[in-house]
């Protein structure tokens, strides 16, 4: 088996295109994706601020106060406009949203009426809307709430205690709406991804791209069996004292070896060049690399086994790998996918690999917590190997 393995390795190394596709292309893609996900360079961990058009038609102290507060937020940049122009700009797609504060805003606050404020938006830009929603609600609620409470107390005092002197009334008001009385003491604490310096986007870029590229190179190894059948070398191997199963196992061993090498190279690159924090469970990382490589290499061989010709195998592999990678989170991070796709993703080898690496690098979980995913990957590998052996015996080794 080692002789066949050595031959495949020599052939692989002689084929510069394969080496480039297996090692340099993933490195380039990982770097590009890491940039795209904003995980390297001068990125400080925050998203770019969202520009919000604001049309203040009320132009009162209260409306100006609200606009100033929104403008002071880190995630929002206020662009002052009028209501007609704001509408046009949102429709044209130049801005995601516009806040229109209608005339009578301050009075409504004072008299406890419904607040004449409207947020117009482009719902195709869900992520930016999400950022705006979160920030605007908290800002508007806290600011308007203070004004409403203030005017309500004032009105109550005037009704119930009309004779009270101004100094006493101001003191009561000041005490009632003291800042620390109003603020909701909800402490926001991020507890995931805090024990490791690696940014989420970088883990996604490395794990997602590495598994995608791994599938392509391993499918290449699989199709090489069909190529060997077509050019007669399989037949010649069978003329020698070698057993048919040895030929298949050596291909599988080679596919597994290339996968381990490729995955290791990707993580080394991410560590040395992209500053990926390797302060994680080493046994977990080794087992994740082994189990992912085993699952991916078995799947690659299986894809070749179900095809009848090399050409068919190449086309089939490309389609299946792209679909599986798309739903499995190699191309688009799982957390921004709809719930239904997140469920479908469970059938993808990419999903289990990427989630395992998330557990390792983002959640910094110990080996025992990652073990279920490792076992699932190993299980995928075993099933694919058994199916491949059966199919190959039936189709390839039969002359």
């Amino acid at each position: 088996m080692f002789k066949l393995f050595k031959k495949d390795l020599t052939l692989f190394l002689h084929d510069r295109r394969s080496v480039i596709l297996s090692f340099f292309l993933p490195v380039i893609l990982i770097t590009l994706f890491a940039f795209a996900y904003g995980s390297i360079g001068s990125y400080n961990g925050r998203s770019e601020p969202v520009e919000l058009l604001v049309a203040d038609l009320d132009l009162t102290g209260s409306s100006k106060e609200i606009v100033n507060k929104i403008d002071s937020l880190e995630d929002i940049v206020v662009v002052v406009s009028d209501s007609v122009r704001s509408r046009e700009l949102v429709i044209k797609g130049e801005y995601v949203s516009a806040l229109i504060i209608y005339k009578g805003f301050q009075d409504s606050l004072k008299y406890g009426n419904s607040i004449p404020v409207e947020l117009i938006y482009d719902r195709s830009r869900e992520m930016e809307i999400g950022i705006l929603q979160q920030n605007l609600i908290s800002t508007i609620m806290s600011s308007t709430g203070k004004i409403i409470v203030n005017s309500s107390i004032e009105r109550y005092m005037q009704d119930q205690f009309p004779d009270i002197d101004k100094k006493t009334r101001d003191a009561i008001l000041k005490t009632a709406i003291r800042k620390d009385n109003n603020s909701l003491a909800v402490k926001w604490t991020s507890i995931v991804g805090e024990r490791n310096d690696t940014k989420l986007g970088l883990i996604q870029a490395v794990a997602g791209t590495a598994i995608l590229m791994l599938l392509f190179s391993v499918a290449g190894v699989g199709t090489s069996i069909l190529e060997e059948k077509e050019n007669g070398t399989i037949k010649r191997l069978l003329y020698s004292p070698l057993k048919g199963s040895t030929i298949l196992y050596s291909k599988m061993l080679f596919a597994f070896f290339i996968s381990v090498l490729q995955l290791t190279a990707m993580f080394l690159f991410a560590w040395l060049v992209l500053n990926m924090d390797m302060n994680v469970s080493m046994s977990g990382l080794i087992l994740m690399i082994i189990s992912t490589s085993f699952a991916v290499s078995s799947l690659g061989i299986f894809l070749a086994a179900i095809a009848k010709t090399r050409h068919q195998a190449q086309n089939l592999s490309t389609i299946i790998i792209l679909v599986m990678s798309a739903i499995g989170g190699s191309m688009i991070p799982m957390f921004i996918m709809p719930a239904i796709l997140q469920k479908i993703a469970l059938v993808s080898v990419n999903y289990w690999g990427i989630q395992g690496f998330y557990d390792l690098f983002w959640r910094v979980l110990p080996l025992e917590e990652i073990l279920p995913k490792i076992l699932i990957l190993m299980g995928i590998g075993v099933v694919m190997t058994i199916l491949s052996i059966r199919l190959f015996r039936k189709r390839i080794m039969k002359l």
Binding site: T10, H14, G232, K235, L237, Y239, S240, P241
Partner: protein, 249 residues
């Protein structure tokens, strides 16, 4: 050296080999002729134990192939119809790889690889990749790869397809040289002049059955075509008479 007794082989509904029997003596060159799909390659695969006959016996060098297929593989070299080489490897690397499958000790294999490259006259191209070789050179290396384990029997399955006259002549010389050293040769071909040139005996096979076998003289007698003056077309006439002129798939 080789005996086939009433051998049958069926693939699904197709009877690939029907009641085939022949004997090949030690040091003989035995030609197997037949149209496409006649069953030549199935017989080659049966001889090399890749295909198990449904019925009948195959005895090679005293060994029944059903009992000890591995020993048969060691005493037999097969030159496949395809150029079954790794194009990205050099001629020498190919020889070392294919020879290595027979567990020949490394130093011995190195010497044997160079010696075999000498036989096919390609020593000066030993480090060049196969993909840079001409069709004829590839055919010569294809033969060389089957000689490394010193087989006593060499099966050549249409070894001169697509080869120019010079390379073809060189291949003939190699075969004659190997035969003169005592190697038993089984040669399948479409080319009548090749079979006429060096086959001691010829079996003509059609639709899985041997329709005639013997020396050229015996075949002339069997077919009723006695034309010793037109030697170049004689076997072709016999062949067409015995297998018919209908086109085959």
């Amino acid at each position: 050296m080789i005996t086939l007794k009433s051998v049958y082989k069926t693939f699904g509904n197709i009877e690939a080999v029907k009641n085939v029997s022949f004997n090949i003596g030690k040091g003989e060159i035995f030609g197997i002729l037949g149209p496409n799909g006649a069953g030549k390659s199935t017989i080659v695969n049966i001889l090399n134990t890749l295909v198990r006959p449904d019925r009948g016996d195959v005895i090679i060098d005293g060994i029944n192939i059903r009992n000890d297929g591995n020993t048969i593989k060691l005493i037999m070299g097969v030159v496949p119809q395809e150029i079954a080489l790794y194009e990205e490897l050099s001629a020498y690397e190919n020889l070392m790889f294919w020879g290595g499958l027979y567990n020949i000790p490394k130093p011995e294999l190195r010497a044997k690889a160079i010696e075999t490259l000498g036989i096919v006259d390609l020593v000066n191209r030993k480090d060049d990749r196969i993909k840079t070789f001409s069709g004829g050179m590839k055919r010569r290396i294809n033969i060389a790869c089957s000689l490394l384990h010193n087989p006593r029997i060499l099966v050549l399955d249409e070894p001169t397809v697509g080869v120019d006259p010079q390379n073809r002549n060189h291949i003939f010389e190699v075969i004659e040289r190997l035969n003169s050293e005592g190697m038993t040769i089984i040669y399948t071909t479409h080319y009548m002049e090749e079979a006429e040139r060096f086959c001691d005996r010829i079996a003509i096979i059609d639709t899985g059955q041997i329709v005639a076998q013997g020396t050229l003289k015996e075949l002339r007698h069997i077919s009723g075509i006695e034309d010793p003056d037109s030697r170049g077309t004689n076997l072709e006439s016999i062949y067409l008479k015995l297998t018919g002129k209908e086109l085959r798939d």
